[in-house]
């Protein structure tokens, strides 16, 4: 394995499971020192234990990224704990409900945006000065194909993920002078436990057969793309949105 992220302090949000876990693990295998952030201390603990068991330097931070003050304090802790400023930030944390239009309630949509949009603003706000102090950095934000190709009951989710694209491109322009790159991954259907759990067996089989590759993507395939974007291999990518959906949204339907 290449050590493209050797000794860099990388923060991954939503790191306890699924895509976030795979990203934290892949970054660690490429030499990164990983700050694993998740709202759930209970879920985060075994994750960090597993990753650390590989010989990776990983630390757990149980924080709700929707809370600005907590995020600011966490980044100060991360810099102190690793004795180095943050070099890479991956915003993967999300909280979502899929509801038909007439059932969307204020509490749900507020919570979704608090984590999935505001949370990215708070982490970038806290991370950017640290990155600037070390001469630059890389931010990778997770959107979704739903930003462009909405699925069923995804009015709030599509708005959330389209919001990630807009804020990331604006941040790319704003942070360029500090040599901070901001790029976006838009995954298609990824076979995490959470995404598979929403379907019964028949629906799952139908959904998988609709995929051009005949399968959902693996979290590790998103992690490989995230590693590219976080590394110097992507030194000329700025404000890019990269879809990783096995070609699912390429054809008209």
């Amino acid at each position: 394995m290449n050590l493209r992220l050797n000794a860099r302090v990388c923060v991954v949000t939503g790191a306890a499971r699924g895509i976030g876990y795979a990203i934290a693990q892949r970054f660690g295998r490429e030499g990164a020192r990983v700050a694993c952030v998740d709202v759930s201390a209970r879920r985060l603990e075994p994750t960090v234990a597993e990753i650390s068991a590989e010989g990776i330097e990983a630390r757990a931070y149980a924080v709700d990224v929707g809370r600005r003050d907590d995020v600011g304090a966490m980044f100060a802790h991360i810099e102190a704990d690793f004795a180095a400023p943050v070099a890479v930030l991956v915003n993967n944390a999300v909280w979502a409900r899929f509801q038909p239009l007439d059932e969307i309630d204020g509490e749900t949509i507020d919570q979704m945006f608090a984590v999935g949009v505001n949370g990215i603003v708070w982490t970038m706000q806290a991370a950017a000065p640290q990155m600037a102090r070390r001469g630059g950095g890389a931010i990778v934000n997770l959107s979704s194909v739903s930003a462009f190709h909405p699925a069923k009951d995804s009015i709030a989710y599509s708005a959330l993920k389209a919001g990630v694209v807009g804020l990331s491109r604006a941040a790319a322009a704003a942070l360029s002078p500090k040599k901070i790159r901001v790029n976006v991954i838009a995954p298609g259907m990824i076979g995490t436990k959470a995404s598979v759990a929403q379907f019964d067996e028949t629906t799952l089989a139908t959904r998988q057969s609709e995929m051009p590759l005949g399968r959902f993507g693996e979290p590790e395939e998103i992690a490989a793309l995230a590693a590219f974007l976080a590394s110097d291999d992507a030194s000329y990518l700025q404000g890019a949105v990269i879809t990783a959906d096995g070609g699912w949204t390429v054809p008209a339907r």
Partner: protein
């Protein structure tokens, strides 16, 4: 274990610029590379790779001629025993003569070298790769395919057609295990853009090159090669039919000045 160990690659336009940097990068990641160019510099790149311990050979050919593309695939199969990667990278910039003076002959040649060459790569690499049920085809497009004022008109239009080829071919190959993607570089100093860079240096305004990009600089061929290596490798196993901008952010913002190219 390197990412391209055991893989075999063809790189067209491999004698200089992005093609050269990509051939070197592919070889450093473990691939055996057939470098195709229209001049002897293809062999110079192959020799350079062999000198650092890599596996490379070369072939002089026009990668926009059907018989040549068929022949380079055959050559890679016989010489290296297979082919998993085809980087269709040759291209020309087109003429910057005023629109009303441009001729069908100029346009046809730009389309032949930029668009038809991509089609031929898809046809011949795709035929082999779909049969073996794996492979990655990479097309060089351009930021000019998305935005006006980043290149000649014929060039921009021909590269927009390349974008469509990446999508339509990915769709045509759905379920075969063969992926097709395009890279959209911004301003990079290569044989195609050398005049832009030389003119800027001559006028003492080199520092202004790439200033309309958020990163405020032109790209390097090695930075495009790194993206090509990602698309060539299994790290991009779920990326298919995509247009990957490697342009310092120029296509992600409003253009706010003339783009020198």
């Amino acid at each position: 274990m390197r990412r391209l160990d055991g893989k075999r690659a063809i790189v067209t336009g491999g004698g200089s610029g992005i093609g050269r940097a990509s051939a070197i990068r592919f070889a450093r990641e473990g691939a055996a590379v057939l470098i195709v160019g229209r001049a002897a510099n293809a062999e110079e790149v192959a020799a350079e790779i062999r000198a650092e311990g890599g596996a490379a050979s070369s072939m002089i050919a026009d990668a926009a001629m059907e018989a040549n593309v068929a022949a380079m695939v055959e050559r890679c199969l016989s010489e290296w025993g297979g082919m998993e990667i085809f980087f269709a990278n040759i291209g020309v910039t087109g003429s910057n003569t005023p629109l009303f003076e441009q001729t069908v002959e100029e346009w046809t040649e730009v389309y032949r070298l930029n668009t038809v060459s991509s089609f031929l790569a898809i046809k011949y690499a795709g035929r082999h790769m779909t049969a073996q049920r794996c492979g990655s085809i990479i097309l060089t497009s351009s930021a000019a395919s998305l935005r006006a004022n980043a290149g000649a008109i014929s060039y921009s239009a021909s590269k927009a057609a390349v974008n469509s080829l990446a999508q339509t071919a990915a769709n045509a190959f759905a379920g075969t295990g063969v992926r097709v993607n395009a890279i959209l570089p911004g301003l990079v100093e290569t044989k195609l853009t050398r005049k832009v860079f030389e003119d800027a240096r001559a006028r003492g305004v080199e520092a202004k090159l790439g200033h309309v990009t958020p990163l405020k600089r032109p790209g390097r061929a090695e930075e495009i090669a790194a993206a090509a290596a990602f698309l060539a490798s299994d790290d991009s196993s779920y990326v298919d039919g995509q247009l990957l901008s490697v342009d310092g952010g120029v296509s992600s913002t409003h253009p706010y000045g003339r783009i020198a190219l």
